[in-house]
């Protein structure tokens, strides 16, 4: 957590972010004390199961946590500027122009009664009132070429495109204002495996071409291990492990990350014995005391049930929230 005070400022620095949903039955801490940084051109993978807080984290970054959620603590610094302190106009400018979002379901993210090109015209002219309709369309056509769709398909309605093409349109929309960060929240979960590989390859190509940073939010550990530079593993609203993907793979420390890795089938292994993580994720209305993972942890100790472990730094790029590594880098 000290690595946030590096010499050169990061593109994005998130410090101690905490987000709560104030439901009728009580308060749910969906994201708690999350800190990380992101540099230009980097890919950060955020992996976790449903309810781990990964999507809430993504939405917080563009200050778009849905009601009844609110950001109760923390700072989000984008190029040194606190995103949470921006006014209404500036926040609108932030969304789309500086950070853009690709949602999971391309079927529901496009307006079914509008042609694709009006999506682009509306987006571009909202942010750049001086742009003419013709200019916006020309730019949209260029973006279509970038994402690999015939430019003349721009006059189609969303229902005329396949699922994979709609997700390409979503990516084109996300890139329209040349943002410095693209957040892709389960961008390929609704898609078949061949289309999924194509979309992920496309994101990588565009990232290399335009130099934007990418935050890839997914439940699929295989995808983040394969596609990101560094990884955050989330469990019940908490970061439980944070490392570069090669470090995380070579030295998986947290029992939850280890469990995930042992429970997903790997097609390249000839024989594989999968071991499941026992139990199920906690109810965040009544989270367990101490470490949130202890009821499912094979290495649980007495202290885990009483006090939540802090994020321990086991090496310069490796953080883990687990008492097993207390001795690793004490003093």
């Amino acid at each position: 957590m000290s690595d946030e005070d590096g010499e050169k400022p990061h593109l994005l620095t998130v410090n101690n972010l905490t987000v709560e949903y104030w439901a009728r039955r009580g308060k749910i801490r969906a994201v708690e004390d999350v800190s990380f940084s992101l540099d230009k051109g980097e890919t950060l993978g955020v992996v976790g199961e449903s309810g781990s807080g990964k999507s809430t984290l993504g939405l917080s970054l563009i200050h778009l946590v849905p009601y009844p959620g609110r950001i109760v603590n923390g700072t989000i610094l984008l190029e040194g500027q606190d995103v949470l302190k921006l006014g209404k106009e500036k926040t609108r400018d932030l969304r789309g122009r500086r950070i853009s979002y690709v949602f999971q379901d391309p079927m529901t993210s496009l307006n079914p009664v509008e042609r694709i090109d009006s999506h682009f015209v509306e987006l571009i002219r909202t942010h750049e009132p001086k742009a003419t309709k013709a200019e916006a369309t020309t730019r949209a056509k260029k973006l279509f070429k970038d994402v690999g769709i015939q430019p003349d398909r721009i006059n189609d309605y969303p229902h005329q495109l396949s699922g994979g093409m709609r997700q390409r349109v979503m990516i084109a929309l996300a890139l329209a204002l040349d943002p410095s960060i693209v957040i892709a929240d389960e961008p390929t979960t609704a898609l078949d495996v061949i289309v999924q590989a194509k979309i992920l390859d496309l994101l990588k190509t565009l990232q290399d071409r335009y130099g934007m940073a990418l935050i890839l939010i997914t439940h699929d550990l295989s995808i983040v291990l394969e596609r990101s530079d560094k990884i955050i593993v989330m469990y019940a609203g908490r970061i439980v492990e944070r490392a570069s993907s090669s470090t995380l793979y070579a030295q998986t420390l947290h029992p939850y990350s280890q469990g995930l890795l042992k429970s997903i089938p790997n097609i390249e292994l000839a024989e594989q014995k999968l071991t499941a993580i026992g139990g199920s994720p906690p109810d965040l209305l009544h989270p367990p005391t101490g470490c949130r993972f202890w009821p499912r942890c094979p290495y649980v100790m007495e202290i885990c049930k009483i006090k939540e472990p802090p994020l321990l730094e086991t090496s310069s790029d490796h953080l883990v929230r687990c008492y097993l590594y207390r001795g690793e880098k004490a003093s």
């Binding site: 078949d192 289309v195 590989a197 699929d220 995808i223 793979y249 429970s263 390249e268 999968l274 499941a276």
Partner: protein, 339 residues
């Protein structure tokens, strides 16, 4: 190379289910004007001439992308819908045209588990009722005996102690537990054959393995046979004994799991396998690029249905290849294996 689909062979003792030339065409609804102006009827050819058999005690997987016809095939086998043509045999008996009462007698032996445990359980029925309901429908048990059978089966699927669950409603339990309830409900009739249609794709990753291992344990303990339907080849590789890859309503490759995964021969199988993410940052990706996307099942390409996207397409692909045996048990519908 002997063509297999056309071969007439005797029904085998060890086969529990066998389908021959199974087809399911859904008519496409036309608009009013179109109905007046055109005479041709169009069909979605969801399943288009599929033949295979499932052996007693094995896990046979149908894998493929959405729209390839794998779920329709599963539903046809348990007779949830009638096939357009073809034959379905269950334990050496032709069940293709069974009606009402006859169908009811075989239903307990042929069960299906669906993908979405949120949609497949009645929200107003308590777990105990839902699991015991099939016993009532088939007049097999009621009252105290029903309760006891329900408790036994809940225990079997790992919902222990069962008394804790029987009085809960589906919304009160987790997705993984719901899928266990769905399994309990299909198992209570003591089936021999279960079609599992994407049973884990809506369940959290950390819980998937427990459900799959439970399925495998139940197979051993209760002498079950599974037809497992999935789009996830990594899971297919873990659970199956044999696997068939489907593309646009047809099987393009079929064989022993190890054979198909270590030596995939159909260009589609190869592309599918190269696209699967592997949990290893060191791995070099050598994806096989396919042209375009899966065509519509209404206008299926002439000849080999994969030819417009195939990187190795040649002249003879204009005639549709049949499934041919490369070696015993490994069948591929592609002319390249002749080379």
């Amino acid at each position: 190379m002997l063509p297999v689909q056309g071969r007439k062979s005797k029904l085998n003792e060890s086969e529990i289910v066998r389908v021959e030339h199974l087809k399911k065409y859904f008519p496409v609804e036309k608009g009013f004007l179109e109905r007046l102006l055109t005479r041709t009827r169009k069909f979605v050819k969801a399943v288009d001439d599929v033949s295979f058999s499932v052996l007693k005690g094995e896990v046979f997987t149908l894998a493929g992308e959405s729209g390839c016809g794998k779920s329709t095939t599963g539903k046809l086998i348990v007779r949830l819908m009638p096939p357009t043509s073809g034959k379905i045999y269950f334990n050496q008996t032709d069940i293709t045209r069974l009606q009402r009462e006859q169908l009811r007698t075989i239903r307990p032996k042929l069960q299906i588990i669906f993908q979405d445990p949120y949609a497949s359980l009645n929200p107003r029925m308590k777990i105990g009722q839902a699991v015991g309901h099939p016993l009532e429908i088939h007049g097999l048990a009621k009252g105290a005996e029903e309760k006891q059978r329900v408790n036994e089966i809940l225990q079997r699927v790992g919902l222990t102690p069962p008394e804790q669950f029987t009085n809960l409603y589906p919304y009160q339990i987790s997705g993984g537990q719901r899928q266990r309830v769905a399994m309990a409900r299909s198992l209570i009739l003591d089936p021999e054959f279960i079609v599992a249609d994407e049973p884990v794709s809506m369940i959290d990753v950390s819980l998937r393995t427990t459900i799959i291992d439970l399925m495998l344990d139940l197979r051993r303990d209760l002498d079950l046979t599974y037809l497992f339907i999935t789009h996830d080849l990594a899971i297919a590789k873990y659970i199956s004994d044999r696997i068939a890859i489907m593309y646009l309503g047809k099987i393009v490759e079929m064989g022993e799991k190890h054979e198909v995964f270590s030596n995939p021969l159909h260009p589609y199988t190869q592309a599918l396998m190269s696209a699967i993410p592997v949990p290893n940052p060191e791995r070099k990706r050598t994806a096989i690029e396919l042209k375009g996307e899966v065509p519509s099942a209404i206008d299926i390409p002439r000849g080999c249905r994969f030819n417009p996207r195939c990187p190795y397409v040649e002249a003879r692909c204009k005639v549709e290849p049949e499934l041919m045996a490369v070696k015993p048990g490994h069948l591929v519908a592609c002319y390249r294996i002749e080379n």
